[in-house]
Subunit: 411 residues, 2 copies
């Protein structure tokens, strides 16, 4: 029996998603896979048979190591949602025809809760048509909003980036002896996991950010202005971390209070931006002070130059665990991370029914949000801290991080 | 004769300005200074006698090493412009009274062209009143716009940050198989040195940014749209680097074409922002594509987690050279960097009359701007490349860069 496998990446990239790809590739080869195929741009490219032999791209141990340390999806990604099975069986038949053509025995998909929907549907269809092909999900998202798993690979590095640059921004804010507000806008549409990571900036050598607003609670503009006013009584430089997705009590995004441009992706998600700018300008006008709006933007998810070794290692492990499980006969599962202990930090992998993970969004528990919604609790901080530990620095060539890329064959 | 000296930091911070402070402190101590004083918030704090004994803050070799690697001005900074001597002699008398009170023999000021104006005026006044106190300028600015010196400490690290994150942003932009424009907004009001550094993203493993617009040439919005249209014929993901200060032929900032908020600092500089957002939205509407506007913002000047070892070493050297020169009797000079050779890179320090540097702004030579103003030349790239070489990584403690700060005495 052949042991060809295929792997794809889906949804927003992270700085460690390729470490999971490396884990899938290496473990599959070690466990005797004949060919490890990669699909370009996820299931979308798969449907166009844009399929590559990973061994032709990853030839050496150095390639593998570069892959681990290259941000953004090596194979490309997509935001393609499979239709319901009953709405388009032809599409599913086409997918399984292609799987047959390449003699695939196991299919791995690295992604978030939208991507797990793909694994769920394909594994459901496999049951329907009695196919032996195994479908396994490999968790990935900076948003940390996947159900069941303790946390998601990608989150730790994004949190480390946010924590570290918040410290730098706080330092920068303190240089002038003048009143100033800095509002840092952080990703996380509905869940405040990333924004909460700004709390890590508070440590022995840093006073930390002053206010933290997560999207789990409604945002009260007047209360915010009042709070900033109180802080200005005590200090000059105020730094605030806000989620891009905070909303007023009547369900309006903050950036909707001002002029803005809006895009909607194919999963129906609005693209958010402008929250920090709105709030910084508001405070600047109210208190006649200097203001800065800093959107951490794309760099949160692609700062391969500032990754957590814990995160990059776990990303590799979940990739490997998915392959091992599939080769042992598992299907329709996602690999999850189970925290055994926070201090010392011990974490293992396990498997979980993908049906209970797909399309579910895990938010920050309300008891981890404190001080009338302006900060996060010590429990939250203790939860994140182990995930940002230690570094895996990029391989630096002529002063810049070296990446491995699929389209420049010269490498 | 006493050998007390005093040092201050002025203007916008950089990620290596404290390395110059370390160079001043260490060299002054090594050459026998009794007390090395630091002024808080530059000349502004000096006038309020907010003066500290640096030895109480920097006690160990570890402290000194942390200082080198801590971004933003350790002593705090100011944007305070001294009046003309004839307009306010009382102020100058006050300054020299304080200098006398602290028994200062040499005064060091780390800053850009506005700060060199302070050194110029104080050294002029010293001549007027026949004071033996020496006044030396230590160059610093991410903007690289100081006259005479080959480049300025702070520029190399900012350029390295811009080059490296541009690579990461380009990688991120390639993940989806859809039309998309990313516009990166880079600092540099009137000089394109920083924006030009985006050209370094082009290397073996990266196609580089597609278009680069410096403020030295007028920006033609229609030509830009046309150029992007041409590029979309060939590729999906377009990445553009623009200076925050680009202007139309009739001298309007691009961000002034849209609604914006404007601030003016005490040197009369407008604070710019919104250029990338305007251009990204414009392209998005014209070509019905996804768009992203990324302002590198404050992180360009405070990303201590991504510094150039060449830069941080030179920053230390110019601090030390200033002290050595002052102790040898020099005054009214700024330390400059003289490039002996680019390949291999060899650079020495020298001294130059501060009168010829203060208030002068060095721009990118027009012959280094190519392709109808949409790129920079190989000469420009060869000029920058040596400045971003090698790393001095932060000292990482519990997963974050450790800084040394003046106000948390516990450290």
């Amino acid at each position: 029996m052949s042991k060809n496998v295929i792997v794809g990446q889906s949804g927003g990239p992270t700085s460690v998603i390729n470490s999971s790809l490396a884990g899938v590739f290496k473990t599959a080869k070690d466990l005797g896979a004949d060919t490890v195929y990669g699909m370009r741009n996820g299931i979308q490219g798969f449907l166009e048979k844009r399929i590559v032999d990973m061994s032709e791209k990853i030839r050496t141990d150095l390639d593998l190591e570069l892959l681990k340390r290259t941000p953004s999806a090596f194979l490309g990604s997509c935001r393609y949602k499979l239709p319901e099975i009953n709405d388009n069986r032809e599409l599913y038949d086409k997918i399984f025809d292609i799987l047959k053509e390449y003699d695939i025995t196991a299919f791995f998909y690295i992604g978030g809760n939208d991507s797990m929907d793909t694994i769920k549907k394909l594994s459901d269809y496999a049951i329907l048509i009695n196919s032996p092909i195994r479908f396994m999900g490999v968790p990935k998202t900076i948003d940390n909003d996947l159900a069941v798993t303790d946390h998601t690979p990608g989150y730790g590095s994004a949190a480390k980036y946010i924590a570290s640059v918040s410290k730098e921004i706080i330092r920068d804010g303190l240089v002038y002896d003048i009143k100033q507000i800095t509002v840092i806008e952080i990703m996380g549409r509905n869940a405040g996991w990333l924004t909460g990571a700004a709390a890590l900036a508070s440590c022995e050598d840093c006073e930390g950010v002053d206010l933290i607003y997560l999207p789990e609670l409604p945002f009260d503009v007047d209360a915010f202005v009042e709070k900033v006013g109180e802080l200005f009584q005590k200090k000059n430089s105020i730094v605030v971390a806000v989620s891009e997705g905070i909303k007023t009590a009547d369900d309006k995004y903050i950036f909707e209070l001002t002029e803005h441009t809006e895009y909607v992706d194919s999963f129906g998600h609005k693209q958010l931006s402008g929250t920090a700018r709105y709030l910084a300008t508001l405070i600047s006008e109210k208190f006649n002070c200097k203001s800065r709006a800093i959107e951490l933007s794309t760099l949160q998810r692609c700062a391969g130059h500032m990754t957590s070794r814990v995160d990059i290692t776990e990303a590799y492990q979940v990739g490997g665990s998915a392959v091992k499980a599939a080769f042992e006969g598992e299907t329709a599962k996602m690999v999850i991370l189970k925290r055994v202990s926070s201090d010392p930090y011990i974490c293992t992998t396990d498997l979980y029914d993908v049906h209970k993970i797909a399309n579910v969004e895990k938010k920050v528990p309300l008891e981890w949000i404190t001080e009338n919604g302006t900060n996060v609790s010590e429990d939250f901080v203790n939860y994140i801290r182990p995930l940002i530990q230690a570094e895996l620095t990029p391989i630096m060539i002529t002063g810049q991080p070296r990446h491995i890329v699929i389209d420049r064959e010269s490498l």
